[in-house]
């Protein structure tokens, strides 16, 4: 590069930066946002404080157990009725046993959205929740005792904590990682990688072996939210595809479908004309005939064979817990989880403990 070009570029970048206007309330705004992060931590840590002494006796250096066991209370049996059955809110000592949701799924993790590092984590072996204030991301496997954790201080790595032994192993995965997602069998982790000049996915096995597969975005176009997710059976991974008809920041780009890839060798397998993005493996019906996606405007139930929209739904982040039952967090009322039929008709409603209301939750089969 010539010196003149170098100087011109330097001047242009400085010009660009100089275009910024002062933000007089920057400190106040950042303080407010930072305090909200801290408040979430305090809420989630409050229960754990009771047993802080017990915590140090456990083999987990970084995880602390939740409050003491509550008196046993029978969990109401969810039944499908024309109007939603309201279940009782869990008691104050809910952390002492798995929080079972309608459909027999459980809450496995609760953490402040945005990854402030605080939250609750289900220890399946001991049947209770632990709290943690160390990690920026906590991702329990849908089955078993492994928990993937991330730390912004080491953005290339992922840690795997085995809750049964308390051991943590860190693995270097790669650069510019996003969209960490467990396979449904809890044996592999999927990452989307957006390295500076590479785009693709990484599959990390729990023994630390990994494979990276680059995907040609010029050939398989994705101009919008482009994270890889697992299929319901964990045998394929998929990427939303856009039509390449232009990109508008104001709306989601129309989807041409989802393209399937092999997680074993990265081969492109097929394109299915689904007009939206599945949130993950549980968004697919067990028989694979339907999928819930985030469409351009709203969540949709879609027939996978034809791509035909069956009906809109209240939420896109759903778990298809049986052939005809969906479990999701109620939008505009995130205090409740609901079990609904595929039309979105609510059948059972389960309020959450108040400590979880403002947190992001992960659920998994019991």
């Amino acid at each position: 590069m010539s010196r003149a070009l170098d100087a011109t570029l330097r001047a242009a970048v400085h010009d660009l930066a100089d275009g910024v206007r002062p933000a007089p309330d920057l400190a106040a705004g950042a303080l407010g946002r930072g305090r909200r992060l801290r408040r979430r931590r305090r809420v989630t840590a409050a229960g754990a404080a009771l047993l802080a002494v017990v915590a140090v006796t456990l083999p987990f250096v970084l995880l602390r157990p939740g409050p003491a066991a509550p008196p046993a209370t029978p969990t109401p049996t969810p039944t499908a009725t024309p109007s939603p059955t309201m279940l009782a809110a869990p008691g104050a000592n809910w952390t002492a046993k798995p929080l079972v949701l309608p459909g027999d799924w459980v809450v496995t993790r609760a953490q402040a959205a945005g990854g402030s590092g605080n939250g609750f984590l289900l220890d399946r072996k001991r049947g209770r929740y632990l709290t943690t204030d160390r990690y920026d991301g906590i991702y329990p496997a849908p089955t078993g005792s492994l928990v993937a954790v991330t730390d912004e201080a080491r953005p290339r790595d992922v840690g795997l904590i085995d809750l049964s032994s308390g051991k943590t192993r860190w693995y270097e995965v790669g650069r510019a990682l996003a969209g960490l997602q467990w396979s449904p069998d809890g044996r592999r982790l999927l990452f989307t990688t957006r390295q500076l000049d590479h785009f693709g996915f990484i599959v990390l096995k729990t023994d630390g072996t990994k494979r990276t597969f680059l995907v040609d975005q010029g050939r398989w176009f994705c101009t919008d939210i482009c994270n890889f997710t697992w299929s319901r059976d964990g045998r394929e991974v998929l990427l939303p595809q856009t039509g390449g008809t232009g990109h508008n920041e104001a709306v989601r780009d129309p989807r041409a479908g989802v393209r399937f890839f092999s997680p074993d060798d990265g081969r492109q397998l097929r394109l299915v004309p689904i007009p939206g993005d599945p949130a993950g493996p549980w968004a697919w019906s067990p028989d694979g005939k339907f999928v819930v996606v985030q469409g351009q405007q709203e969540p949709l139930l879609v027939e996978t064979g034809t791509g035909k929209v069956v009906n809109p739904l209240p939420a896109a982040d759903v778990a298809w817990v049986s052939a005809d039952r969906l479990l999701y967090r109620r939008p505009n009322g995130s205090r409740d989880f609901v079990l609904a039929d595929p039309t979105g008709r609510e059948l059972v409603r389960q309020p959450l403990p108040k400590q979880l209301v403002d947190l992001e939750l992960t659920v998994a089969p019991r």
Partner: protein
């Protein structure tokens, strides 16, 4: 203790905020996104203040760059900063005016993908070497060089007058 933290943090933001906002603006390309990007990074710094207080500025910058390019922060972060229109192409030998060229370049910079703009920001705004840029972005030096080359190629395409002017400047030096 909280008052001490708040006081230290506020003093830090008051002192370094404007400089950090310039960096955020160069990365994000517009005022609203820059403030959002910076406030998010500062909030994370506040939440970790006892651990990073002596090293806050590098921490905030690291969060800024990684949030902007990595996608960890939010799935909805889009790939490119929107520009209302592509910058008009400069006619070759049009005016030879530096300010016109820089105006066009500034608009063209906004249209670069975040990764390419991040590389140029680190190299030209923060005056980091290729190696330092690579270390901060967590990539190889060769990748920084290739991203710089791609960015330059795109800028040349958008602003053809770039080469004309710089060639003239070289000749008349």
């Amino acid at each position: 203790m909280a008052e001490v933290t708040d006081g230290e943090f506020t003093a830090f933001v008051n002192e370094r905020g404007p400089a950090l906002l310039r960096v955020a603006y160069a990365l994000a390309g517009n005022q609203h996104a820059a403030e959002d990007l910076l406030q998010n990074a500062l909030a994370k710094a506040y939440a970790r203040w006892p651990r990073i207080r002596g090293d806050a500025e590098p921490y905030v910058k690291r969060i800024l760059y990684h949030d902007q390019i990595s996608g960890w922060r939010r799935r909805s972060r889009r790939l490119e900063v929107p520009v209302a229109e592509l910058p008009e192409r400069a006619a070759v030998g049009d005016s030879g005016d530096d300010s016109d060229l820089r105006l066009l370049l500034r608009a063209a910079l906004r249209s670069l993908p975040p990764r390419q703009r991040a590389v140029l920001t680190l190299r030209y705004l923060e005056d980091l070497s290729v190696e330092q840029t690579a270390a901060l972005l967590g990539c190889r030096a060769g990748t920084v060089a290739s991203q710089s080359a791609k960015a330059l190629a795109r800028l040349r395409k958008l602003v053809p007058g770039l080469d004309e002017l710089t060639s003239r400047a070289e000749v008349t030096r």
